[in-house]
């Protein structure tokens, strides 16, 4: 699979930062979440040990995935759950559609599932004339606006309450100009309660699947996954196979890390453990590969499959905070998305590993210790080797390597650069120079470090 994204991260980010106060607000809001995470992490002296355990448990599962998946399936079937396997997004969507069609249901609710976003399930079902109601408040807001979530934990983090107020006024008939979050949330509660009570089929994601019990855990703060799953007569849970963990006791490690890393909460309000359908209910699990087994085989990138989707790497990333989730043009944005998406489609996502300063903050906060910034760096090399790097970048890199390989040229170029910045500033301080955008050019020093050193050595 290979395609072209409609725009690159850099192009979309340029539009995002055109509104400077809003960019600052976005930046501050996410940094605030990052600070809450720090406070929660610091409350546990064993935090670093927990991260190590989580990382090691995940690696153990990745290295025994075949056995664990078979064990999980066997146990789930014994529990009365129907297990389906999907090689890719299309098979996943077809399976869900078939269940909907076979049961002739119309009223469908869905809680947050990044996998179904990855597979574009809503669009696919929409084309078949099936309407899905997203029930997470943030997801409902962006669904009304025909937008994608911009953050995997906080789907509407790019919007201000005034935006939500206008959207709800249009779709739910709330008072125009009333943007009190309490009032708006109450309106959504009433609207979605009707949807829950009437729902026939509920789709949820899966945070963790447990090989030992054949069950799975879904975490929410709102209670929307449970309202749907327990009200509807059919429950479909969709999961990437990497959600598996060996035993229920390991949930102790992951549930301690997940919410603290995500929002700074000690745990989400609801950590729901499903293992059998209730009497008279159908329960389905769709296990999806969609490129994951390929990523498992890439030694330098396989650790990305440890991800538990907490979004700590988003909140800390200086590039994400100042470019917004939509700039990443993928279901999972941010640093982790930038190492997962090139595996899904290298051509379409070749820009993403370059949307980083490689500062390493993502790796430092990751609860399962994925070396995110190192993988970003490795993806850049892979993409360049595949001949997918932008032409201008390749030429610039070639030019740079020539200059750096020849000291005399390097010194001459430095001298010319200093002279130009000093005497002909308009040559650099203009719109044609990408480094001048949103920046002041620095003052040119009188001499290079080498000249200064040679002069001072003699003194």
């Amino acid at each position: 699979m290979s395609s072209q994204a409609k725009f690159t991260h850099a192009e979309a980010a340029e539009q995002f930062i055109a509104d400077e106060p809003r960019t600052d607000w976005h930046d501050d809001t996410l940094w605030f979440v990052r600070e809450k995470r720090d406070k929660a992490a610091n409350s546990l002296p064993e935090w670093e040990q927990l991260r190590q355990w989580a990382s090691d448990i995940k690696y153990h599962v990745l290295s025994n995935m075949h056995q664990y998946l078979e064990a999980f399936e066997q146990k789930a079937i014994a529990n009365g759950i129907q297990v389906h396997w999907a090689k890719d997004a299309k098979e996943h969507n077809d399976i869900v559609y078939k269940i909907i069609k076979d049961n002739q249901v119309q009223r469908i609710v869905k809680s947050k599932s990044m996998l179904t976003e990855e597979c574009h399930l809503n669009e696919f079902l929409g084309e078949q004339g099936v309407e899905i109601v997203d029930t997470d408040l943030g997801e409902r807001i962006v669904q009304f606006r025909k937008e994608a979530p911009s953050h995997i934990v906080l789907p509407a983090i790019h919007l201000k309450k005034q935006d939500v107020s206008e959207t709800f006024h249009e779709h739910l008939g709330t008072e125009k100009g009333n943007h009190d979050p309490q009032y708006l949330t109450e309106a959504a509660r009433g609207h979605l309660r009707d949807k829950f009570v009437a729902s026939e089929l509920a789709i949820t994601g899966v945070n963790f699947a447990v090989a030992e019990t054949g069950g799975f855990v879904v975490c929410t703060n709102e209670g929307n996954a449970d309202m749907g799953a327990h009200a509807a007569k059919i429950h479909i849970a969709c999961m990437g196979f990497e959600k598996l963990i060996p035993r229920a006791e390991h949930l102790g490690v992951f549930l301690r890390l997940l919410a603290r890393s995500a929002t700074g909460q000690p745990i989400t309000t609801y950590s729901s453990h499903f293992s059998k359908p209730r009497a008279g209910q159908q329960m389905h699990i769709v296990i999806v590969d969609n490129g994951r087994s390929r990523q498992l085989g890439r030694e330098e990138f396989r650790n990305s499959l440890k991800c538990i989707r907490c979004a700590a790497c988003f909140n800390t990333c200086p590039v994400y905070r100042r470019s917004g989730g939509h700039s990443y043009h993928t279901a999972v944005a941010g640093p982790i998305g930038s190492i997962l998406n090139p595996n899904l489609d290298m051509e379409a996502n070749k820009d993403l590993p370059f949307a980083s300063t490689l500062c390493g903050s993502c790796s430092n906060v990751c609860p399962v210790k994925i070396n995110i910034h190192e993988q970003l760096y490795l993806w850049r090399q892979t993409i360049t080797k595949e001949g997918l790097a932008p032409k201008a970048k390749s030429i610039a890199m070639w030019g740079m390597s020539e200059v750096l390989a020849h000291p005399a040229i390097y010194r001459l170029a430095g001298k010319m650069g200093r002279w130009v910045v000093k005497h002909l500033p308009f040559l650099t301080n203009n719109g044609l120079n990408p480094w001048f955008k949103q920046r002041e050019m620095p003052q040119a020093p009188k001499e290079s470090f080498r000249d200064w050193y040679l002069n001072n050595k003699q003194k």
């Binding site: 064993e46 990745l62 090689k87 309450k161 829950f196 102790g252 490690v253 499903f274």
Partner: protein, 194 residues
Amino acid sequence: MSARESILASIMANQPVSQDLPQIDLRAVINYDNVLHQFKTVLESIGGKTMEINGWDAIQQMMQADTKEGKQMVNGIAELGAIDANLATQKAAELASVQRAYLKGGIAVAENGSIWVDEAAMVNRLLPFIAEHLVLVIEEKNIVATMHHAYQQVASFDSGFGMFLAGPSKTADIEQSLVIGAHGARSLLVCIIP
């Protein structure tokens, strides 16, 4: 080849050399001098309310007060009287008007204020979510320090459903403003009996 076989074959071909599971050593994990105090502090910090009571009488009085005020109240605690036989099979439309549900909680966790509620204790899986307000009764001796300790005691997942519940339903999806009462219960009161 079916999707199942092709996925499993691809995984088998690509999975790395097996690495052992780590040992979770509970000596490395935080403990609290007073788990009751820690539990109450954390639960209140996440929007829950707590009340220490001496016995079932206090709950009985709350239920009577509800009935007097004409509130639709549902009892799910055997110690407090008969449980409506229809409750287990009632559908969302019938439960939507429940104003307060009284249920019994199991293991409670000091580090995060959460309480394990098993399917049997919910009577109906939907009840703790759809009730406008929720009262959980727990026993002080069931409070443990961390999730690791809790999972040692939640031995069985045989009933089919269970959850760790921590506080009332909430959301911060509108500009990060915390709003209590998203889709689930608007309030959680935890009564702790000795």
